[in-house]
């Protein structure tokens, strides 16, 4: 690649187009648990690098040869949840009379601020070859595009309320992980006459959940019953294996203009089933007799439709615009059943065999990103990106375990040729979340629990009220090495 005149003008154009991303549609929604940032600003549905195996498998055909890509996404995450005391199901004036949260120290133990600062690492490993056939790309990869890890800080101990040390977010998560890991085999071919690339991928998806949360038998946040410990714990450790498919097209109608469209199916093409154990500790009984319950967990991941376009002058400048629709409305609920019960079901009131039933009622979400590249030299491509993601989680099912809201991103980085066959990419993305505050449920006169019926939930779906204020920030450093053989 050679330096070309007009580079500064190209940079100005790139920046100007990128800035338009800060004008998202009002009704745009977000992408829930989608965390794919591998590839940095080159991770998109018209990409030519090996992250195409996730974003659009057709991109595998855009570069030939044999290639290896090692990508590490290193993220820091700061999150605070300030639980509103008004969300507590039942406050007790006399700590020894009734079932609920004793006023004073009990309320302090069941509300206030929970916080975390977690550092995460997430790999993308990809390999592809054309087997010497022009226009062919065949690849294998591993990555984790959905899910995350949460580990809340401990707070002050309170001997009267032993659950308090795990913080006021404990009813939803103390620590845990929920994610889907992909093992992908993909193939693509470029039909040169049509300037059209066609690709498809086959994914083995390992879904995994390992989480501990506070739990009562009736789904409330009661701490005590007539002075006796009531708050318990549920430890859920399940996993499952599913398949999914992807397909995509990339069309190059004129030189250097690429238009891409791809589809990633839901893992399992619907609801996924994970199996394992649930350890329940409820009430004040001795814990030495506690045994795990064989369990199955039903969850739904979204399918994702992506579209994008990029255009530029190779070695000089490039602009990119792309977006995705993640159909999180597939996640209606999460359901944990006892597998020893023959007629178990997530349906019914109550559902037979139900251990935990969490309503989600998530909504489809759209994300849009715009970015560009400018080559400062033949070996140094600088990138800039701006983006918007909407919100998949409605107020009525928000909680600190699976949090989402509208968000904005700004990314800066570069791709540097270390040699003819080795490239290093470094991109830092700051994800900016506006604070989100959710009001407490209403209480019917005399009720000892918050009103969930008006939210459309049944009693078996009861979970504590996660009303409060959420503050969130994430920074992502993506580092990748691409080698060509």
């Amino acid at each position: 690649m050679q330096r070309r005149p007009g580079r500064l003008a190209a940079l100005a154009l790139t920046v100007a187009l990128s800035a338009t991303a800060l004008s998202p549609a009002e009704q745009a929604h977000a992408s829930g648990l989608l965390v794919a940032r591998f590839g940095g600003e080159h991770g998109h549905p018209t990409t030519y690098n090996l992250t195409a195996m996730y974003y659009n498998p057709a991109g595998l055909s855009l570069l030939g040869g044999t290639r290896l890509m090692l990508d590490g996404t290193f993220a820091w995450r700061s999150f605070t949840f300030n639980r509103d005391p008004a969300g507590i199901d039942n406050t007790l004036a006399d700590p020894n009379v009734g079932t609920g949260t004793p006023a004073g120290a009990g309320v302090e133990a069941n509300s206030g601020e929970a916080s975390l600062f977690n550092v995460l690492a997430n790999p993308f490993i990809g390999f592809a070859t054309d087997f010497g056939v022009e226009g062919l790309g065949v690849g294998l990869s591993f990555y984790v595009p959905i899910g995350g890890v949460t580990n809340f800080d401990k707070v002050d101990d309170n001997p009267d309320f032993p659950g308090a040390e795990d913080g006021p977010a404990r009813w939803w998560v103390i620590e845990g992980t929920l994610r889907a890991m992909y093992f992908t085999a993909a193939v693509a071919y470029r039909i040169e006459d049509a300037r059209l690339s066609i690709g498809a991928g086959f994914n083995l998806v390992l879904s995994q959940m390992d989480t501990i949360r506070a739990r009562n038998s009736d789904g409330t946040d009661h701490l005590t019953s007539n002075g006796q410990l009531l708050e318990g714990r549920a430890l859920i450790d399940v996993s499952g294996l599913d398949v999914s498919l992807s397909a995509g097209l990339i069309w190059e109608p004129i030189d250097h203009l690429y238009i891409g469209l791809s589809y990633q199916s839901q893992p399992g093409f619907g609801t996924t089933r994970m199996t394992g154990d649930t350890t329940l500790v409820l009430g004040a009984g001795p814990v030495d007799e506690v045994t795990p319950t064989p369990s199955e967990f039903f969850n739904a991941w979204p399918d994702v439709i992506r579209a994008g376009v990029r255009y530029g002058e190779p070695g000089c400048w490039e602009v990119r615009l792309f977006g995705e629709l993640a159909r999180w409305s597939k996640l209606y609920e999460q359901c944990l059943l006892n597998t020893t019960i023959a007629d178990r079901s997530c349906r019914g009131n109550p559902p037979p065999g139900k251990i935990v039933l969490i309503p989600r009622r998530w909504e489809d979400a759209v994300g849009v990103r715009v970015g560009g590249s400018w080559w400062a030299s033949e070996d140094a491509e600088l990138v800039l990106g701006l983006g918007y993601d909407g919100n998949a989680v409605p107020d009525k099912t928000i909680d600190p375990a699976l949090y989402d809201t509208e968000k904005y991103t700004i990314a800066l980085g570069g791709r540097f040729a270390l040699s003819d066959s080795l490239n290093l990419s470094v991109t830092y993305t700051q994800v900016i979340y506006p604070d989100r505050t959710v009001a407490a449920r209403t209480h019917q006169p005399g009720a000892t629990t918050g009103d969930i019926e008006s939210l459309g939930f049944t009693e078996p779906e009861r979970s504590p009220d996660a009303a409060g204020t959420y503050k969130h920030a994430i920074g992502v450093l993506d580092v990748s090495v691409e080698a060509t053989f």
């Binding site: 845990g176 038998s217 009984g285 009131n349």
Partner: protein, 197 residues
């Protein structure tokens, strides 16, 4: 599949912050230990013939404020030594105290100090009689260690374990049985032995 799982787990280790959910559970066990129930047998001093009909309430350790109610029939055979005891327990609705499902029965003996132990085996309490998780059928093994406290009252500890909807030990649960001198619908619920002054 096993090889695949090992590879998966190895790769998974690359994707996580450090979490140890079992450790967090163990820490909760440790912190809550001083507040956990230590099962104690109450003082039982006298063997009494408490034959009759009772309102029997079981306060499970899972949620003691929502006792499971039974219409119980105590039948004592004082013609043998030790005395024989048969208890039939009919689950009743926690809303209107009507019969729900089938009764279950256990037999045993009463020691000279009035103590007895009964093993009801595996029992089912249908959802309409289950206020702990309303509407959910519960299957449990049920052990009762009790005392003939007076001619109209018996109380003691409940052991065994809930099997369905999930496995939970019942150790630490209690019961109280109040003789019916009138209507079952209005009888007082006592689900544990009186706390000693």
């Amino acid at each position: 599949m096993k090889t695949f799982s090992l590879v998966s787990l190895s790769l998974a280790a690359l994707t996580t912050a450090c979490i140890d959910t079992q450790n967090r559970l163990d820490e909760f066990y440790d912190r809550s230990e001083p507040l956990r129930i230590t099962v104690q047998s109450g003082e039982c001093v006298e063997r009494l013939d408490i034959s009759g009909d009772y309102l029997l309430a079981v306060a499970t350790v899972v949620n003691p404020s929502a006792p499971i109610l039974f219409s119980a029939d105590f039948v004592i055979d004082s013609s043998t030594e030790p005395w024989g005891l048969t208890v039939a327990m009919q689950p009743i609705s926690y809303t209107d105290r009507s019969d729900v499902g089938a009764a279950f029965t256990a037999s045993g003996t009463i020691a000279s100090d009035g103590t007895f132990s009964l093993d009801f085996g595996e029992i089912t309490v249908l959802g309409a009689a289950n206020p702990v998780v309303p509407g959910v059928d519960a299957v449990a093994t049920l052990l009762m260690d009790g005392c003939t406290n007076s001619l109209t009252f018996s109380c003691g500890n409940i052991g065994g374990a809930i099997i369905e909807p999930a496995q939970l030990p019942l150790t630490g649960s209690t019961y109280g049985a109040v003789a019916l001198d009138d209507d079952l619908a209005t009888a007082e619920v006592i689900s544990a032995c009186p706390v000693a002054e």
